[in-house]
């Protein structure tokens, strides 16, 4: 291991506050936890849940790729509860892990986990959910790197695809099946809304909360279609939401009049009125995190932010395993 090849600096809060101000990835100078020098360092991975196929793909990739790189990977599942996640992070600290990959349950509360790890001198890589910069600043906390999808771009790509399919001045009455409680989904919605606003005849008339659950999405999507008989486009900003949207349209016999754009439903071919979808590649994000982690432990600098573009699927294509919204 080459971890001693760079200068060791004081660990602790003073340094971390400095890093927060710097906001860069110069953290490679920090002293690493003792565990990193062992033959098989332990990496803690904190994930929100294993109900969404998205996180399963990510978890599998962390384990598989971690093994390949010679790490022992411990996964903690927070069951979508921020305080659960914080206690799991505390447990990682007690175990004295070498580094932590954090997929925060929620953007704001995630800062507390980052701060706790900072205090323990354990490097934090954040993935998928970006931890709120304001909260990080307020708590004087910082992470080494964020890896995730470019959420806004994903929404924009779907909006642009819609205008391409329907025509630049088509009359579009769109409804969004989203999750207004989450930042990433709101970013997707914004990308979509902004993209279609280029068409003066297009507007988003309603956003309902599908709670990233196909059943809820089916119900609220059906309600929304009832409320707007003239609606001709649904944008579902998550994979489970897309499953619900497809069923809602089909069950109301509106397959001819309502087109669906979405973040990809798992294992579903894009066909018929399901016009296009954007997929994230959670397995890739996990791999990128681990690769960068290895570089960082080796003393190299890594970029503070890695934003991956989304993969777009159109009619006739089918997202592969692990490519989901």
């Amino acid at each position: 291991m080459k971890i001693l090849t760079h200068k060791t600096l004081l660990a602790g809060t003073g340094l971390l506050a400095l890093l927060a101000l710097g906001g860069s990835a110069e953290a490679a100078g920090a002293k690493l936890p003792a565990n990193c020098s062992e033959a098989k360092p332990t990496i803690g991975v904190a994930l929100p849940n294993t109900v969404n196929p998205y996180y399963i793909a990510m978890q599998d990739s962390f384990k598989k790729h971690g093994e390949e790189l010679g790490y022992s990977v411990n996964v903690a599942i927070a069951n979508d509860n921020d305080s659960n996640q914080l206690s799991q992070i505390e447990a990682f600290i007690q175990q004295g892990v070498c580094a932590v990959a954090l997929n925060a349950v929620n953007s704001g509360p995630g800062a507390a986990s980052v701060r706790a790890l900072n205090d323990a001198g354990i490097p934090v890589f954040t993935v998928n959910v970006i931890v709120s910069p304001d909260d990080l600043k307020a708590q004087g906390a910082s992470y080494v790197q964020y890896v995730g999808a470019d959420q806004v771009a994903g929404g924009t790509q779907m909006g642009e695809q819609l205008l391409k399919d329907a025509g630049a001045d088509a009359k579009i009455v769109a409804g969004i099946i989203g999750d207004p409680d989450q930042i990433p989904t709101n970013q997707r919605d914004k990308g979509f809304s902004d993209a279609i606003s280029k068409d003066a005849n297009a507007k988003v008339v309603q956003t309902v909360n599908g709670k990233v659950d196909p059943n809820v999405s089916l119900q609220v999507g059906g309600d929304m279609l009832q409320g707007h008989p003239d609606m001709n486009v649904l944008f579902a900003d998550t994979g489970p939401g897309a499953v619900g949207a497809l069923q809602a349209v089909q069950q109301q016999g509106k397959a001819d009049s309502v087109k669906i754009y979405a973040f990809c439903a798992a294992d579903t071919a894009v066909a018929g009125n399901y016009m296009a979808c954007a997929a994230q590649e959670p397995a890739d994000y996990a791999r990128i995190v681990l690769d960068n982690l290895k570089k960082y432990l080796g003393g190299a600098d890594v970029p503070h932010e890695v934003l991956q573009p989304l993969k777009v699927f159109t009619t006739g294509q089918k997202p592969g395993p692990g490519e989901v919204g």
Partner: protein, 371 residues
């Protein structure tokens, strides 16, 4: 007939037979008035709300909660509670999907899945009755089991259903009415008749009214307890089939949202006491329809999602308050009447005399109501 009237008539059809032959104003009149008021308000707010197609959409969306509320009513009537029903939806749904993937024809897969749901209820009954675990803890624990089973057997992946016939349960129609609505209506009618007309039905009320007295009067407590929890498990299994059939995907996390608490709220709003012995199937069904109407209505009239749980909370509170007030007025009237005619034995006086007199559905003591 306007579409609204038709939709309302469908709702009446759900449980109408329960309301027959009452001397006084039925207990459910209060909550029914609230339901009608909400429907009228929403109809004014949006022309889209008062269409037949929307009536069906909201009833289909509410059918799972109606099934759960129906099963929950049985358990609540005995003074118990079943917290495992929401998780049971996900478990039975995934099991049905898995069995079909294994090549079983859909009717058999559906029956087996509902049997598993009923079995979970039966186990709840065993825990509550024989191991004497408080229902809250017993069913909370089995909820954990029911949540985990589908995740363990599927690895959290959703299971697609390819048996086209299975669609009928959640997406089919019977004489123009969506199948889930027909299923829940038939179940509610059977349940209501059962509670009114059979000995076991009377025993259920007796058990909730006063367990010790019921036992001394010869009620088979074990059989009754096992029965009500099994009914609740059965109803959750039906909910699982409907949810899975609507999506044609067995999704492990189905039913882990608001379903459980909405179903308990539906029963309680409809006048089923959390302490047992009091309430009717009709009331629980009206409560469930009220929740379905509000959930649907808010999306149809475009209420922002942040406000929705607040509105549902307030409407549940208003419904219960209105109902409690109406009952207290009624009790006062009864009390006045008994005071005015002291020599005529009034019903309430007779109620306190013997434990079993509180047990006849539809004829139980109004002053004793704690709702």
């Amino acid at each position: 007939m306007s579409p609204t009237e038709k939709a309302q008539e469908d709702r009446h059809a759900t449980a109408a037979p329960v309301a027959v032959r009452r001397r006084r104003v039925p207990d459910e009149a209060g909550i029914f008035a609230v339901l009608v008021a909400v429907i009228i308000t929403l109809s004014f707010l949006s022309p889209s709300f008062r269409t037949v197609s929307n009536g069906f959409v909201l009833l289909v969306n509410g059918s799972v909660i109606m099934f759960l509320a129906l099963g929950q009513a049985f358990v609540l009537l005995t003074g118990g509670i079943d917290l495992s029903t929401g998780a049971n939806i996900g478990m039975t749904g995934v099991i049905a999907a898995l069995l079909m993937q294994l090549g079983l024809p859909w009717p058999i897969a559906a029956l087996l899945a509902v049997a598993v749901g009923t079995l979970l209820g039966f186990i709840n009954g065993v825990l509550v009755n024989f191991l004497r675990i408080p229902p809250f803890i017993a069913t909370f624990s089995t909820q954990g089991v029911a949540l985990a089973v589908p995740l363990i057997i599927t690895g959290a992946q959703s299971i697609s259903v390819h048996e086209i016939g299975f669609r009928w349960i959640g997406q089919g129609k019977v004489i123009g009415v969506p199948t889930p609505v027909v299923l829940v209506a038939v179940a509610a009618v059977i349940a209501a008749l059962f509670l009114r007309m059979t000995r076991l039905g009377v025993h259920i009320y007796a058990l909730g009214g006063n367990k010790a007295a019921a036992r001394l009067s010869g009620v088979n407590v074990a059989r009754t307890t096992l029965f009500v929890y099994s009914v609740s498990g059965f109803c959750a299994g039906m909910g699982g089939l409907i949810a899975t059939s609507r999506l044609m995907v067995g999704f492990p996390a189905t039913g882990t949202g608001n379903e459980l608490f909405y179903s308990i709220a539906a029963a309680v709003v409809g006048g089923v006491s959390l302490f047992g012995g009091v309430g009717t199937v009709l009331g629980a069904m009206i409560g469930a329809v009220l929740i379905a109407v509000v959930s649907n209505g808010m999306n149809v009239v475009n209420v922002q999602s942040y406000w929705q749980s607040l509105v549902i909370g307030v409407i549940i509170l208003l419904g219960v308050t209105f109902d409690t007030y109406r009952r207290s007025q009624q009790n006062r009237a009864v009390a006045r009447r008994s005071a005015a005619t002291p020599f005529v034995p009034a019903t309430p006086a007779g109620q306190s005399a013997g434990p079993l007199s509180t047990t006849v559905p539809g004829d139980h003591a109004k002053p004793g109501r704690s709702a």
